[in-house]
Symmetry: C2
Subunit: 262 residues, 2 copies
């Protein structure tokens, strides 16, 4: 079950030793980007500027970690560009992916408020750049701009609902359906007929397995079957959806009469 320790080798590098110290540059960052994030909704231009001034920037190469599970929570991040995978490892070495972060979304914020170390690892899937605010800066911002805390509450609340939904799916639905849902989500697929989309960052069978709670073997079998049916096509680390409505049908568990029709 699960990717055991092969990838952990790379992980270890990122966790402790390899990650360089935070570059403490406080140069101003693009405010338009901040304004686009839900966290800073309803902030005035002037306040936005002050928030931007308190931010730092950090980059990570593909495969490197922003922070590791168990690290003490020093800061929260806002992804500027790239893609980040939030994953947990069990004591037994099994890996579970909790979510993928797209630009404009925040990550690492929860333990800043509820205490404790980071409960998961944040890995750059692509070369990624993020703004970050230290624990102290965050506290100051929270005191200065109370609406920001309300925004944060809304964001975290959304995350609870998301996790609850995924929990329910994992508990009640079979693998194929969960994989279909995950692919639609990752591809951000519109369901119009013929509207082909694709996942715009490299992703392996293993990654999808960790995201849906199954094994790379099962994912491989499922994707092969779909490819044969012309629902999608895939190269290594890449998936393109040819018929979103086909994937949608599986995600919604329509009984697919078109397969059993006489």
């Amino acid at each position: 079950m699960w990717r055991m320790l092969p990838r952990s080798g790379a992980l270890c590098l990122c966790f402790g030793t390899k990650r360089e110290a935070f570059p403490e540059m406080a140069r101003p960052i693009d405010e338009g980007l901040l304004a686009g994030s839900r966290l800073f909704a309803r902030l005035e231009g002037r306040d936005l500027r002050r928030v931007a001034e308190a931010a730092h920037i950090v980059s990570r190469a593909a495969g490197a970690a922003f922070f590791g599970q168990g690290d003490s929570a020093r800061a929260f991040y806002l992804l500027i560009e790239g893609r980040v995978r939030i994953a947990q490892v069990t004591p037994e070495g099994h890996q579970v992916t909790l979510r993928y972060i797209a630009p404009g979304q925040i990550f690492g914020a929860v333990p800043l408020f509820s205490g404790g170390p980071y409960p998961a690892t944040a890995l750059a899937v692509l070369k990624s750049r993020a703004a970050w605010w230290s624990r102290e800066a965050t506290r100051l911002l929270a005191e200065t701009y109370p609406p920001m805390v309300v925004n944060a509450l809304a964001i975290v609340g959304h995350r609870v609902q998301e996790m609850q939904d995924r929990y329910r799916e994992l508990a009640t639905e079979r693998v194929e359906r969960r994989v279909a849902r995950a692919i639609l989500h990752l591809a951000g697929a519109r369901t119009e007929i013929g509207a082909r989309t694709e996942i715009d960052f490299p992703i392996s069978r293993q990654d999808i397995a960790e995201l849906t709670g199954t094994t790379l073997h099962t994912v491989s079998r499922i994707l092969s079957a779909w490819e044969q049916q012309g629902i999608l096509e895939s190269r290594r680390m890449h998936i393109r959806v040819l018929r979103p409505e086909g994937v949608r049908a599986i995600a919604d568990d329509l009984k697919r009469e078109d397969e059993t029709r006489m």
Copy 2:
């Protein structure tokens, strides 16, 4: 899989028709209780009194609902006494239990901040009494006492971490282990040898199944086996743990050498 529609009959009664209108009594409630809740931590005595004045009280008989999945989110609740089960129903009619609420904990708060209707149903397991604050009252409180929003953020953050952990467990661990963990959690068990505890509210095999993502049959088999080993004893709707360390060993997946010893 899952309790299908038998219980839904009762649910429907609670959902729409049977629930009486909110009794709009604004009588003051016990402040000591409020002070004990994490939500109101760091509030001054005078502020606490004003919060208490804004609260309403509502009671529910065992089996009745505080609110139903899909209802518009009018208020959040703080359980005063009793026990509440938060559950989701899938379109197919399967039921999943997300959490049990103990006195002092809040529920129904998330959608007040992140929008949308209640994502789950809140059912009284015992005769229960709760304080509640309307959406408007909540907004006012949030504006007047910013630290309360920070507290709420910490609580909701905790809930995210909890859901993430349960998600990981469901994805990677087998049933027996999840059941063990659930029982320890529900019994609030200390693990000292010989420290027998019990679950202090009525709970069925079906309930445990919905909490752990399995079927009542499997739960029944597991509990029977444990009972034979003297780990616990159970009557209908009731479980008493005789050897918490035994349950703990299963939850932690110790290879239980004492069974295979020569």
